[in-house]
């Protein structure tokens, strides 16, 4: 018996030895691996030398002056599979279209001697880990100087960790506010952030009320409680406070099956306007319940680009969503030359209208093109250096007159703040009029006037 105990002691001893071996090798390996990574660690700080920049695989001749860049890789990391695949797929289609337009119709990047763009795509999957793996894979295999992605906030955050380390510009199409509040240096976001959606909805309502000589005293904000919905609602509340409007706020899970309690609360509070941030099905439910319970406020405005005014919601809710509005990061009806052209091309190629996910990629990718042109102008010796690229992004001031990117943007103006957000961010508002969605704000479609207040509001007759 004592022999066995001895053996067990031995077992324990050897296990410990095994762990120590692992630890030693780990330590040695880590030490060794730190050496080549030294440049990365150094470049994390502000002092950046030209030589420290990672040379991109696309241009081995980059160090030779003048640089001859024939092809620039643009990374796209989107959720192509899983729960968010609908958005990722549309974003990918949009990116392919815009890359074709830039390469063929616009002759590539002119300031770089007509260098072509090459899209390299990775699937971000469903979780932050998968997104991070996708980012590492794309970086290891292609090392594009610029990456676009990843729509869902936590996945975008995971990608950003990789792009920050590698000093790759990340043009984000995730809208959650906190993404530009992490102190990341190489991130940009042309799209309006979540709170800007809420703000737009309030601005629209206030502007319309002023036009019609109506006053808004009380407002209610109801929102689904995802991170996105919460940020949209916060943006709306902040704006309501600014205008001195009293408000109540109510959060609910997006998968509610009964909206009666929410609508009852609304009716008790009896606000002049309702700002609603739905997901999809909850919006249908709320609209139907409001109609059934006979609640007639001055106006009901949606915010956050989900529900109410999309074709599926109109189909599902029918007359209940008449005169509802919603805010969008992209305005497919914006009457500029290039917007009309891109929308037409997208429709011809994919047989559907571009929505939110595609729209954001349209202008984000065009902004990338402008930034590359600018970088080539400012730093012809090394345009793809991350810091030169960053400088180029920050020096952009795009308007309808000087760029295609701004023509595709709802407000027609793009200029980046140091944190990477667009200073002139804004949304377009669509309203359901006679069962059809129409753009009513800020530039109404030709022949369309916003319906405000709601015709079924008791005060509308007077």
């Amino acid at each position: 018996m004592s022999l066995l105990t001895e053996a067990q002691t031995k077992t324990t001893a050897i296990i410990i030895v095994a762990i120590v071996i692992i630890a030693i090798i780990a330590g040695a390996a880590y030490y060794l691996s730190q050496k080549p990574a030294q440049t990365v660690t150094v470049t994390q700080t502000q002092t950046v030398t030209q030589t420290a920049s990672p040379t991109t695989t696309t241009s081995p001749t980059q160090t030779v002056t003048p640089p001859k860049i024939k092809e620039i890789k643009i990374g796209l990391i989107e959720p192509l599979t899983g729960a968010h695949a609908v958005f990722g797929q549309e974003a990918k289609q949009a990116a392919e279209l815009i890359i074709d337009v830039i390469n063929n119709e616009l002759g590539g990047i002119k300031n770089l001697g007509g260098a072509k763009l090459k899209l390299v795509v990775a699937d971000a999957g469903e979780t932050p880990e998968q997104a991070k793996l996708a980012a590492e894979k794309l970086v290891a295999q292609e090392h594009p100087p610029i990456i676009l992605g990843a729509y869902i906030s936590r996945m975008t955050a995971a990608v950003a960790e990789v792009t920050e380390r590698e000093k790759i510009i990340l043009v984000m199409d995730g809208l959650v506010d906190s993404l530009t509040e992490q102190g990341w240096k190489y991130v940009f976001r042309a799209a309006p952030k979540a709170s800007a959606h809420g703000k737009s909805a309030v601005d629209f309502v206030v502007e319309m009320a002023k036009k019609k000589n109506l006053t808004i005293k009380k407002a209610a904000v109801i929102h689904e409680d995802s991170i996105f919905g919460t940020y949209v609602a916060q943006g709306a509340i902040k704006e309501l406070v600014k205008y001195g409007i009293d408000y109540m706020a109510e959060a609910y899970p997006y998968d509610i099956s009964d909206a009666t309690p929410i609508v009852s609360k609304l009716m008790d509070y009896n606000p002049d306007v309702v700002i609603s941030v739905p997901y999809f099905h909850d919006g249908v439910l709320i609209a139907k319940t409001i109609k059934e319970m006979g609640f007639h406020p001055m106006f009901i405005a949606g915010a956050g680009a989900c529900g109410y005014t999309d074709p599926d919601s109109i189909k599902a809710a029918g007359e209940a969503v008449e005169w509802y509005t919603n805010t969008y990061s992209y305005n497919p009806a914006r009457p500029t030359e290039w917007n009309k052209k891109i929308v037409k091309m997208f429709e011809e190629r994919y047989g559907k209208l571009p929505t939110e996910a595609a729209g954001i990629i349209f202008y984000s990718l065009m902004v990338v093109k402008e930034a590359l042109e600018k970088a080539a102008e400012l730093h012809p010796e090394d345009p793809l250096n991350p810091d030169n690229l960053r400088e180029a992004f920050l020096s952009l001031d795009l308007t309808d007159n000087n760029s295609i990117a701004a023509q595709l943007y709802p407000t027609g103006h793009i200029k980046f703040a140091p944190n990477g957000d667009n200073i002139y961010a804004g949304t377009a508002i669509l309203q359901v009029i006679n069962g059809e969605p129409h753009v009513v704000w800020p530039d109404p479609e030709p022949g369309i006037q916003p319906v405000f207040p709601r015709p079924d509001w008791p005060g509308a007759k007077g």
Binding site: L4, I14, T81, A85, D123, L133, E136, A158, V176, T230
Partner: protein, 328 residues
């Protein structure tokens, strides 16, 4: 008597050598991968899956309880470690043990009444899968849908916020070796024999005088502690805290890997985790972007093939190979 003793000794030795061999192989993996960020991160994710499946093997393999709550205990360890780090700056070296302790506490809270009232088989599976959702809801009530990002902190060794993945890999590899060792220890101990008896026939075991409830609870506690520790390391790797960490799907996948590996076979379980996780990621990377969703199809097909051709799991394959080698 001396015969059985020496036989037992030989077995232990054989196991020991394979464990040391495994440790050396695992230690050398990043070197062979050339310290490439992508491959090391991938290997880290594989280690994560393998550790979790190895921990699951204690309750699922040895005790024979179809537990689907691996992600609940793991996420519990993760969010406690993560929030202690993000809010109070407490080093994960301590945080992960607190997280593991809390995971054990929850395991006792859930396990005691569960085993007391004799909930087993499908009912136990249902209960544990509900546990993940309940934990998710509780987290949601406290933190809402907001995401907390753990920032990069210095010194890296204290806060485990490395920009490279090697350290995480080695931590999880060490964790895996420890978990496998715990598995082997349990298998050889009184607890292991009792658990085997419970797995084969719970009523018979009880009739023989085994305190079924107590030993099942022991197995559950060890499993929860290990899963909680793995979660603590995991959160320092991803750095994103949200209610989605309580992922019911991950709980199911962990059980699937354990079953594909062969119930009660630690080698098979680890092998299954390594193969399936790498395969999943390889397929997603290789064809996921071009033909979206096709990788899931292939993955599913492979699972079915294993189920049809090797229903006893990969463990039988391992045994077969071992016999071949020894015969030679």
């Amino acid at each position: 008597m001396p015969g059985t003793l020496s036989k037992k000794l030989a077995l232990t030795k054989e196991r020991l050598y394979s464990l040391v061999g495994l440790a050396i192989v695992l230690a050398l993996v990043p070197v062979f991968l050339g310290f490439n960020f992508y491959y090391v991160l991938l290997a880290t994710n594989v280690m994560l899956a393998a550790s979790l499946v190895a921990a699951w093997n204690i309750i699922g393999g040895y005790a024979g309880q179809l537990d689907l709550a691996a992600s609940a205990y793991m996420a519990l360890g993760a969010v406690i470690t993560g929030h202690l780090l993000a809010s109070f700056g407490l080093t994960p070296w301590i945080g992960m043990f607190i997280g593991a302790a809390v995971a054990v506490g929850v395991a006792v809270l859930v396990g005691y009444p569960t085993f007391r009232f004799g909930i087993k088989e499908v009912w136990y599976a249902l209960l544990t899968s509900a546990l993940v959702v309940i934990m998710m809801r509780i987290y949601y009530l406290i933190y809402g849908s907001f995401e907390t990002y753990i920032p990069h902190m210095e010194p890296e060794w204290l806060y485990l916020t490395f920009r490279r993945y090697e350290v995480y890999y080695y931590m999880l590899a060490t964790m895996l070796v420890i978990i496998i060792w715990v598995n082997l220890k349990i298998k050889d101990s009184k607890l292991g024999y009792y658990l085997a008896a419970i797995r084969e026939d719970e009523l018979a075991a009880e009739a023989l005088g085994i305190d079924v409830r107590r030993y099942k609870l022991y197995a559950l506690m060890i499993y929860a502690a290990l899963a909680g520790l793995v979660g603590g390391i995991y959160i320092t790797l991803t750095g994103i805290l949200s209610f989605r960490l309580f992922d019911p799907w991950l709980g199911i996948v962990t059980a699937v890997m354990g079953i594909v590996g062969g119930l009660g076979s630690i080698g098979g379980a680890v092998l299954a985790a390594v193969i399936l996780r790498s395969l999943e990621e390889y397929l997603r990377g290789a064809i996921g972007a071009t033909y979206p969703g096709s990788h899931l199809l292939v993955y599913g097909l492979i699972l079915i093939l294993v189920g049809v051709l090797k229903p006893e799991g990969l463990a039988s394959l391992l045994d077969y190979l071992k016999k071949k080698i020894i015969r030679r």
